[in-house]
């Protein structure tokens, strides 16, 4: 989900997101091939090739690479002599498994999916975090567990055509589902994350009673909306295009993309943080990482600093998980930070533990529904 894009840059690039869900198809295929090639080559590649005096942080490519460099390189340079390298190769579960199993681990710290961190932990593919170095208490939003810690958040928000619905804008997922009051096509995110939550919220489930998710009820509610879903967008840029070109009147999109499209259309497309689903991204450390576990832990600790968190929000719109960071933001950025007090109190928090335990079976049912 590194869907987010810098709030300063026009977002047409296609490679900003996590490949598992957001990368354009071609890149995903190349990514898949390279992962398989890595598996094949692993046997011949000694680990020492990668273990220079550098720390490799993996994310999902595109602008996120630059954003990480801008936010992390300088503070890391103050603490260490080694270089910080950001690799946009996409730390999907499959990629981590490939590297760890083949003994050719290239990444030290990965910006991944929260549910992946639980699953990878269970499979013994990631290092246990050292909470003597990392400070649990600095995380105000998102999960902290033995194998993963929230690094930033983003929200799934309702974006809508204000030219059509500006007088009485949608304020809830129930409104999103209300095709009589708000006629027109919708778009949802391709994968089920947050889709299940918003369906249950639309069906009247109270935010505090969402978990454990009632999968069948959520799927039935999505099925209800199906005739009005134009498409399931895959990349953040696609979600922007759908709204900007008027192909849809309402979309469930990432807050960063909603903000971009709002700026591009001078407010014709607007969005709300009402019932936004806040989703944390995560740091995890592949087992046997080249720079060593200690360096990885120190890096994670560094990223918890309020200044570093604020910088990441500034350059890329990633919501701080350290509440102290919001106070450092400009008033404009506070307005669009998913974790700023007036936004977070209207939002609903996603719990990835449920996904970690039910992902495979739930994804099969979800895929059957949307592709049927």
């Amino acid at each position: 989900m590194t869907n987010r894009i810098s709030t300063t840059k026009k977002g047409n690039e296609m490679t900003v997101m996590k490949p598992d869900r957001n990368l354009p198809a071609m890149t995903r295929r190349q990514f898949g091939l390279s992962a398989i090639a890595a598996a094949a080559a692993g046997a011949f590649m000694p680990r020492s090739v990668f273990a220079a005096d550098q720390l490799v942080v993996a994310n999902w490519g595109g602008d996120a690479v630059t954003a990480f460099e801008q936010a992390f390189a300088e503070p890391w340079g103050k603490l260490n002599s080694g270089k910080l390298v950001v690799d946009g190769g996409g730390p999907s579960e499959g990629a981590i498994k490939t590297q760890v199993d083949s003994g050719a681990v290239r990444w030290d710290v990965c910006d991944g999916e929260m549910y992946s961190s639980y699953r990878l932990g269970k499979e013994d593919l990631v290092e246990k975090l050292d909470f003597n170095v990392i400070d649990k208490n600095l995380v105000g939003f998102g999960d902290v567990h033995d194998f993963g810690i929230a690094n930033y958040v983003y929200s799934y928000v309702i974006a809508f055509d204000a030219a059509k619905f500006g007088g009485d804008p949608p304020k809830s997922w129930a409104d999103f589902w209300d095709v009589k009051k708000y006629p027109g096509k919708r778009a949802l995110y391709k994968w089920m994350s947050a889709n299940l939550e918003i369906a249950l919220l639309a069906d009247g489930v109270k935010p505090e009673e969402l978990y454990p998710l009632d999968l069948d009820r959520a799927l039935a509610k999505i099925a209800e909306l199906k005739p009005h879903i134009l498409t399931h967008w895959e990349t953040g840029a696609e979600s922007q295009q759908l709204l900007r070109d008027g192909e849809i009147v309402m979309g469930q999109v990432w807050n960063t993309r909603a903000e971009l499209v709002k700026k591009q259309t001078s407010g014709q497309i607007d969005y709300t943080f009402d019932q936004a689903v806040v989703s944390p991204s995560v740091w995890f450390v592949p087992k046997g990482n080249p720079a060593g576990r200690d360096a990885a832990m120190r890096f994670i600790r560094m990223t918890q600093e309020p200044e570093v968190q604020a910088k990441l929000m500034e350059v890329y719109g990633m919501g701080p998980v350290n509440p102290a960071a919001n106070a450092l933001l400009s008033p404009e950025l506070q307005k669009i930070s998913p974790t700023a007090p007036e936004n977070i109190e209207r939002s609903v928090s996603m719990q990835n533990q449920w996904y970690a335990e039910n992902y495979g079976q739930a994804l099969d049912k979800y895929t059957a529904l949307i592709s049927g």
Partner: protein, 281 residues
């Protein structure tokens, strides 16, 4: 024979190709096959059993086969038409057609898929045009569904079908056609009795090549399919990288490969390997 040193030299000079094939192709392939039969409980055919019984997988496989069949038939018919004009048309016509066939051939699948999306979507070129001339009042659903996937795939695959058909048409002796026309045969009669039988090997090769190619389509369905997991290649990706369920993904790949191998064997059996190489070249 191998006692002579020159023969040893000859053998060693021939070695790089088989070595490369084994290392870069057969070994990884064996790895994929091994994944497909490894289950958490040890070696077994659990993944294959799941494929045979899981209604979702069966429906995706079935849809893949259905889309590929339709796409293949349409592509081959269009390709035959193009190849016919490339063979018998005027020089200018040939040039224009060749450019029309080859330029998209050199463009990446991703670019072509997005280009089709721009043309076919609700407020895209096609719908805007049809609405402006009053042919339709509401935009047609041309993209973000199976139809869009098929259009994109046909466009991608037609060049692959044109080349073998054209090659077999070029082998036909003009005098046969002249003879049939001079004996009073209609166009259709000449087509049915001379062109079609004599180009059948190219036609068959085109059909198999296009079908085999279409089975593995990933980019086009993903872009034009409206974000629904339409075809099996994307489902394999999902199993491999979303769920790191390599076993099931590998088993599905093995099944796809089996279909491809069976089709190729069938083709070789019917057409003969020599003629196949001949038409394809």
């Amino acid at each position: 024979m191998l006692k002579h040193p020159a023969n040893w030299l000859g053998l060693s000079l021939a070695l790089p190709l088989p070595t490369l094939l084994v290392l870069a192709y057969l070994l990884p392939l064996a790895g994929v096959l091994a994944w497909s039969v490894s289950t958490p409980a040890g070696i077994g055919f659990g993944h294959y059993r799941q494929i045979a019984t899981d209604p979702l997988i069966l429906s995706i496989l079935w849809r893949t086969l259905r889309i590929c069949t339709v796409v293949t038939l349409v592509s081959v018919v269009i390709a035959y038409f193009l190849a016919y004009h490339l063979r018998f048309g005027s020089l200018l016509k040939k040039r224009i057609l060749l450019i029309g066939v080859l330029i998209p051939f050199w463009l990446s699948a991703l670019i072509r898929a997005f280009a089709w999306l721009m043309i076919l979507r609700g407020n895209g070129l096609a719908n805007t045009f049809l609405q402006s001339v009053g042919a339709i009042s509401e935009p047609l659903a041309l993209a973000r569904n199976e139809l869009g996937v098929m259009i994109g795939m046909v466009h991608f695959l037609v060049p692959y079908a044109v080349l073998p058909i054209l090659s077999s048409l070029q082998h036909i002796d003009d005098r046969l056609l002249q003879a049939s026309r001079s004996l009073g045969a209609s166009f259709w009669r000449s087509f049915k009795d001379i062109l079609l039988p004599l180009s059948s090997s190219g036609l068959l090769a085109a059909t198999v090549i296009v079908f085999v190619f279409s089975l593995g389509f990933f980019v086009t369905p993903s872009v034009l399919g409206g974000g629904r997991v339409v075809m099996v290649a994307e489902y394999i990706y999902l199993q491999m990288f979303q769920l790191s369920n390599w076993g099931l993904g590998a088993a599905l790949s093995a099944i796809l490969m089996l279909i491809v191998v069976a089709l190729m064997l069938l083709l070789i059996r019917i057409v003969g390997i020599r003629r196949l190489m001949d038409t394809a070249s």
